[in-house]
């Protein structure tokens, strides 16, 4: 029997930048696609994000950042999840992220990085595939 529980996704804004247009659009698109979406709001430290992920018992975490601090903040979230024994949660991210930074981010455990101009359908599809509905 399929689990009736909807997959839960945390959309989070690590770091100090306030560019939340993308994060909110993704949050809404995932909600419209049938996921349970929790949005952290702005200015979250990696610790706050991981705490929210554990508290809300989410299946995946989508990180959005546009300030250029991704190389530090994204891997830090994965690291903290690991420390808390929650590395089963899928972490993906997006924002102003140069192509050359992507391999290292993936190696650090960010499953996918979406850069500007990615169609929403592609992100929704990714979440469906990796998390299930």
């Amino acid at each position: 029997m399929a689990d009736a529980r909807k997959a839960r996704i945390l959309i989070a804004k690590p770091g100090l930048d306030g560019h939340d247009r993308g994060a909110k659009i993704i949050a809404r698109a995932l909600r419209d696609a049938g996921f349970e979406v929790i949005y952290t709001g702005l200015h979250q430290t990696p610790e706050m994000i991981v705490n929210a992920a554990l508290q809300e018992d989410v299946d995946a975490i989508g990180l959005s950042i546009l300030s250029g601090a991704h190389n530090h903040l994204f891997p830090r979230v994965v690291e903290l999840l690991r420390e808390k024994g929650a590395s089963d949660k899928i972490v993906f991210g997006g924002g102003i992220i140069p192509a050359e930074d992507i391999p290292a981010l993936k190696k650090a455990g960010i499953v996918e990085i979406f850069t500007p101009g990615t169609p929403l359908s592609e992100i929704v599809e990714f979440v469906r595939k990796t998390v299930g509905t």
Binding site: L73, P98, G117
Partner: protein
């Protein structure tokens, strides 16, 4: 009654569409507003003298200066800042050498949020999307060799605006330039932070008190300083329509004028130092109409609603930046063309200063090469195309005047709605502008997804693998460098002076005393932005994101 000529045109039009149907069922602007196929005299009701008039003359629809660009071109002001103060100082000197005529400082995120470079919140952010400024020492380096009586400087700083203004005054005074001589702008527009840009620290009421203190202080002591740059730019970047940008920005402006009056100032004592900052998006005519409507609404509001008598209080002077959100990471060279068209709209709309984005800004901060092309774009517009040679060349265009009138009435409807709610602060507390923008932004994204709106290189004319362009990299060592400098300053300054000035600040914050003089004392003692903001956070509390989506 339609004229025989118009009737004939309609018949011909029908025939033409019969042979070749219209490309779309409905034609709309970027903001989704329907566009008529043709505008004529009957579509535009205006009384020329009353509604348009002459440049430099009320209601300023055609421009705020009588001579516009015939006297002086707009100020070419590229927003710039990255790495440490030394790095950015070099970029400023380069830009000035290339013919740029004003400075515009981009601070890194920790400064914008009132945090020091050694704070846990700053990890990974130092010098990334702007220049790192922690103490007066950084500002001294930033403006080293740049005479502050000869350039004007715009600083994009909001929640901690009072602190950066104090630092700028202190640097100028060290250069032997008095505070009465310096010219420039602090953005200091906290209302649009709650609405759109989200670099807030304190709650709205406490933030407005700081702004009142700045208005009073500058009116008395820094007369050439533009105290607030009331900004629609970020509202638009957050996904608003053109009308929402116009309406929410002017509503914020109304909020500040009310705050100034409540602080006991005469409207004409401070309103002339308020300036505006708009976006230049890609829908050419919609943008031009927006600037023209903005001038007319502001002039009438100041005169009729606030009883201003000085025409300078009624003049909406504005800076423009081309739309960052119109740029694409795909085929980045196309961004040069987008920026040129947007810059042309700003010029035809009568802007006082302009920033043109660089082609690589969806990827990182711009390289020197990219920012040079962006500056050259303005110079080509100014000196080759001839568009600056006559004033308001589109004034009287049936279509532009039609759009101007329509945007004015749509914006006024929003402003009246906000008035009904009890003003802009109440509207923000209710989440009204935030939700309207989130709605518009989602609608536009859906239009892109469905292909109803085109974004070249993204949802049409897509190319496969592209060769990456060169981008600016901020080495991680910059963070260590900056943290080291901050620690050295904390060691070498007089800790007694710092402690004393921070105590005075706390006392002032708890009373009604103007904060500016005590902040000036604190920055001169090399108290850091984080230390000063921590004191204020302790007294005022912090604002939490309501996280609407």
């Amino acid at each position: 009654m339609e004229s025989p000529a118009k009737k004939l045109w309609r018949e011909e039009l029908e025939k033409a569409f019969h042979e070749l149907p219209p490309r779309q069922k409905v034609f709309t602007t970027l903001s989704g507003e329907e566009v008529p196929e043709l505008c004529g005299p009957e579509d535009v009701q205006f009384d020329y003298e009353k509604d348009l008039g002459y440049p430099g003359v009320y209601p300023f629809t055609r421009g705020v200066q009588p001579s516009m660009y015939r006297g002086r071109l707009w100020t070419m002001r590229q927003f710039s800042g990255f790495g440490t103060a030394e790095d950015t100082n070099r970029r400023y000197k380069y830009l000035l050498a290339q013919g740029q005529t004003g400075l515009s400082v981009a601070f890194h995120m920790p400064t914008l949020m009132g945090r020091d470079s050694d704070s846990e919140y700053a990890r990974g952010e130092v010098g990334r999307c702007g220049v790192a400024v922690d103490t007066l020492r950084d500002m001294e380096i930033l403006f080293e060799g740049i005479p502050l009586d000869q350039v004007t400087t715009s600083m994009t700083i909001n929640a901690p605006a009072a602190i950066l203004l104090a630092m700028y005054i202190a640097v100028a005074e060290k250069q032997g330039v008095s505070r009465r001589q310096i010219g420039g702008t602090i953005q200091n527009d906290i209302l649009k932070e709650y609405i759109a840009q989200k670099s807030w620290i304190f709650p709205p009421k406490e933030s407005m008190r700081i702004i009142q203190d700045i208005l009073v202080f500058c009116t008395q002591e820094v007369p050439r300083w533009n105290t607030i740059s009331i900004s629609g730019y970020h509202i638009r970047e957050a996904g608003s329509t053109a009308v929402q940008e116009l309406a929410f920005t002017l509503a914020d402006g109304i909020g500040y004028v009310q705050a100034g009056i409540e602080a006991g100032l005469d409207v004409d004592a401070f309103a002339p130092r308020l300036s505006f900052f708009f976006n230049a998006h890609i829908d050419f005519f919609e943008e031009i109409a927006k600037y023209r409507a903005a001038r007319r609404i502001w002039a009438r509001t100041m005169k009729e609603r606030f009883g201003a008598r000085d025409p300078r209080s009624m003049k909406l002077r504005f800076h423009t930046q081309t739309a960052g959100c119109s740029l694409t990471a795909q085929q980045p060279m196309n961004n040069v063309v987008r920026t040129a068209v947007e810059a042309l709209a700003a010029v035809l709309g009568g802007t006082q200063s302009l920033h043109t984005n660089s082609m690589d800004e969806t990827l990182a901060l711009p390289t020197e090469e990219a920012v040079t092309v962006a500056l050259r774009t303005q110079q080509i517009l100014a000196e080759e195309t001839g568009v600056a040679n006559t004033i308001d060349p589109l004034g009287g265009s049936y279509f532009v005047e039609y759009l101007t009138n329509r945007m004015e009435s749509q914006a006024m409807a929003y402003i009246e709605e906000i008035d009904r709610m009890g003003g802009i602060i109440r509207a923000i507390e209710l989440g009204y502008p935030q939700k309207e923008i989130a709605e518009a932004s989602y609608r536009y994204q859906m239009a892109l997804e469905s292909g109803e709106k085109t974004l070249v290189g993204v949802n049409k004319y897509v190319m496969g693998e592209e060769s990456p362009i060169e981008i600016l990299k901020i080495p991680p060592e910059k963070e260590e460098q900056q943290v080291r400098r901050l620690r050295e300053i904390k060691k070498s300054r007089s800790s007694r002076d710092v402690a004393r000035s921070l105590q005075a600040l706390e006392k002032a914050a708890r009373s009604k005393e103007n904060l500016m003089p005590v902040i000036l004392e604190a920055v001169k003692a090399y108290a850091s932005i984080g230390e000063i903001c921590d004191v204020l956070r302790g007294v005022f509390g912090v604002y939490e994101d309501p996280a609407y989506f």
